[in-house]
């Protein structure tokens, strides 16, 4: 029982970790909280639904074009909505991202409707038997795919010039532009990568939870809690916070009434912010503005 709960928690936790990573990347790049991140997850899942049902590709092969499409979509959002307001005040950027989020939700409703839809996956309902335990195959797919995504991201971030430029921009925008780095272009790249990272989360989780217009907002709130748990602004913290939150939620959900499960992220969020606002991995001097 506990083992199944923990693997389930790891699976949903990897989804939180990926979305939290996307949130933190954008936060570090341009000091804004992207309220549309959840909807970027949702629309990526619907892209994959369209690709899988129209092109009849196998599940894992259909994942790649959907992720790329989601990255391009995030790039377009950055160019049209975010860049004109990026230098204005905090709340107005926040509201702009909220506008994006409502627009995407409305568009999804217009195109695909509101009924929950299953995303066909060959792994749904399959189980891996390991000793006495039966583990859900789709959960294993989520865990492995997200680890793979995190590995790619790590190699990109540490090993390429663009990744290095992203780190520089996150550290000091003025200094970066003095070194000849185009901050605008790096921010666009950050948005694209965030869109792609979140897309992997959305596409792998959808076969378990049905696809719904509203799924993004709930995921966003959990991912934000995860990011705060790890110390908002720390990439490692966001990932570990995501896994931790997933496990805590699954285990409390297994032993306590179902209604409590959905309040766990918020209770944890309030607890962390009141007791230790810097989170697990945040630096003491982290900017809390």
């Amino acid at each position: 029982m506990l083992i199944q709960l923990i693997t389930g928690g790891l699976a949903i936790g990897s989804v939180y970790a990926l979305i939290a990573l996307a949130l933190v990347l954008i936060y570090k790049g341009s000091r804004l909280l992207n309220l549309a991140q959840g909807e970027l997850v949702t629309i990526a899942a619907y892209f994959s639904l369209a690709i899988l049902t129209q092109a009849r590709l196998p599940y894992l092969a259909g994942l790649v074009p959907a992720v790329i499409l989601a990255g391009v979509f995030a790039l377009i959002v950055e160019r049209i909505v975010i860049r004109p307001v990026v230098s204005s005040e905090e709340w107005s950027i926040l509201l702009a991202t909220w506008g994006v989020s409502i627009t995407i939700r409305g568009l999804i409703g217009l195109i695909w409707g509101h009924e929950p839809r299953p995303l066909p996956s060959p792994f749904t309902g399959q189980h891996l038997h390991w000793g006495a335990y039966a583990l859900s195959a789709q959960e294993m797919v989520i865990i492995v795919t997200s680890l793979f995504m995190l590995l790619i991201f790590y190699l990109f971030f540490k090993g390429t010039k663009a990744g290095l430029a992203m780190q520089v921009v996150a550290d000091n925008q003025m200094g970066a532009s003095l070194c000849g780095i185009s901050v605008g272009r790096i921010n666009a790249l950050t948005w694209m990568i965030s869109g792609m990272v979140a897309a992997v989360a959305g596409i792998t989780i959808s076969p378990i939870f049905f696809l719904q217009v509203e799924m993004g907002f709930e995921l966003l709130l959990s991912a934000f809690s995860a990011a705060v748990l790890g110390g908002f602004g720390s990439i490692v913290g966001a990932i570990i916070g995501g896994y931790l939150l997933g496990i805590i939620q699954a285990v409390t959900g297994g032993y306590m009434p179902e209604a409590i499960k959905s309040s766990v992220p918020f209770a944890l969020l309030i607890l962390v912010l009141v007791i230790r606002p810097t989170g697990l991995f945040g630096k003491a001097g982290v900017e809390k503005k």
Binding site: V85, W91, G109
Partner: protein
């Protein structure tokens, strides 16, 4: 020197007469929408004092409205209080209950407070949904008809006057508050807490005061809503409505009271206007709700990019250009 004053007085009197006569020529549905706009405008005024003036990113006004609504409902149902007592009392109750968010908020700033208040909203929503014996859960709670001296005030038009009185009182109260020590202290706090504390302002107590004032307004708004709809469920107090109030506040104008009222009307009428034009522009097959969401989302983006200061400043810009030759001086009605 007397002439502009007299003209102003005449304008105010005309406005008052118009406001009093408005429901006579309106359909019930239009009056209903106006009533809702007024109720939301009160909550937006409160939100504007906390966010626009005090600079606190608070996403939980609807949680406070829900407290006010359920408070007013239980006062009216269990204790038989008339509406003119239960509504102000619900404001008081809400401002006391708001301490549960005000104290955690003391340690939080910016986005952190925003997200914690979203969490606060959800936890409260769960409590309301789960506490069947008090709130009726998702089945909802019925209220008795409001009555004044034995005459029931059930119709939309009768309620319009209650709403009007409440909005006017709340507006004047907020306008005076902004000019008082409390209001100026909250404003200073919103500009820069460090500078404010150097000026001798007790940051902690004024932050709490800002929350309590906001909660008072939201509570009154919730109490009015409960007495007006006479049936409340958790579905009347969702996060979508909280965001709607926020949109109203920012579209109306950050820190502007007139803007708050414009914002209340904006968010109530926008979906209706979209619904009105939808069939002729988009076709009848398009789902109404989705069309409303898409178009309001695009409008929010457009407002943030092109009118970042909100409608109130925009209108003021027109007015000051028009007045340029008639009167000199800066914007004294700030």
């Amino acid at each position: 020197m007397n002439a502009p004053l007299n003209r102003n007085r005449i304008l105010w009197a005309l406005l008052a007469i118009c406001l009093l006569l408005i429901p006579l020529g309106m359909s019930n549905y239009l009056t209903y929408l106006i009533n809702l706009s007024g109720i939301y405008a009160i909550a937006i005024i409160g939100l504007n004092i906390l966010m626009g003036l005090g600079g606190q990113m608070f996403f939980g006004p609807v949680a406070l409205m829900a407290m006010g609504a359920y408070g007013a409902a239980s006062l009216a149902n269990h204790l038989n209080f008339p509406f003119y007592i239960s509504i102000p009392l619900s404001g008081v109750i809400t401002s006391i209950l708001s301490l549960t968010i005000a104290f955690p908020a003391l340690r939080l700033r910016g986005l952190y407070l925003a997200m914690v208040s979203v969490g606060y909203h959800f936890i409260l929503e769960q409590i309301i949904g789960g506490w069947d014996s008090f709130t009726g859960g998702y089945n909802g709670l019925n209220l008795k008809k409001a009555s004044l001296g034995g005459i029931p005030l059930a119709s939309d038009k009768a309620f319009y006057y209650i709403m009007l009185l409440a909005v006017v009182l709340c507006f004047l109260g907020a306008r005076n508050l902004m000019k008082m020590r409390v209001g100026r202290a909250i404003w200073a706090l919103g500009q820069d807490p460090v500078a404010a504390s150097i000026q001798g302002i007790n940051v902690t107590s004024y932050k709490i005061a800002a929350f309590m004032v906001c909660a008072f307004y939201c509570g009154i708004s919730g109490g009015l809503l409960a007495h007006y709809l006479r049936y409340i469920t958790p579905y009347h107090f969702t996060i979508a409505i909280a965001i709607m109030l926020l949109v109203g506040m920012i579209v109306g104008g950050w820190g502007s009271l007139g803007g708050s009222i414009m914002g209340g009307f904006f968010v109530t009428f926008l979906p209706e206007v979209i619904g009105f034009f939808k069939d002729s522009f988009l076709g009848a097959s398009v789902a109404l709700y989705d069309a409303q969401e898409t178009i309001s989302g695009i409008l929010i983006i457009v407002v943030v990019i092109f009118i970042p200061k909100g409608l109130a400043e925009w209108v003021k810009g027109f007015k000051s250009r028009w007045r340029y030759n008639q009167r000199e001086g800066g914007d004294r009605d700030r």
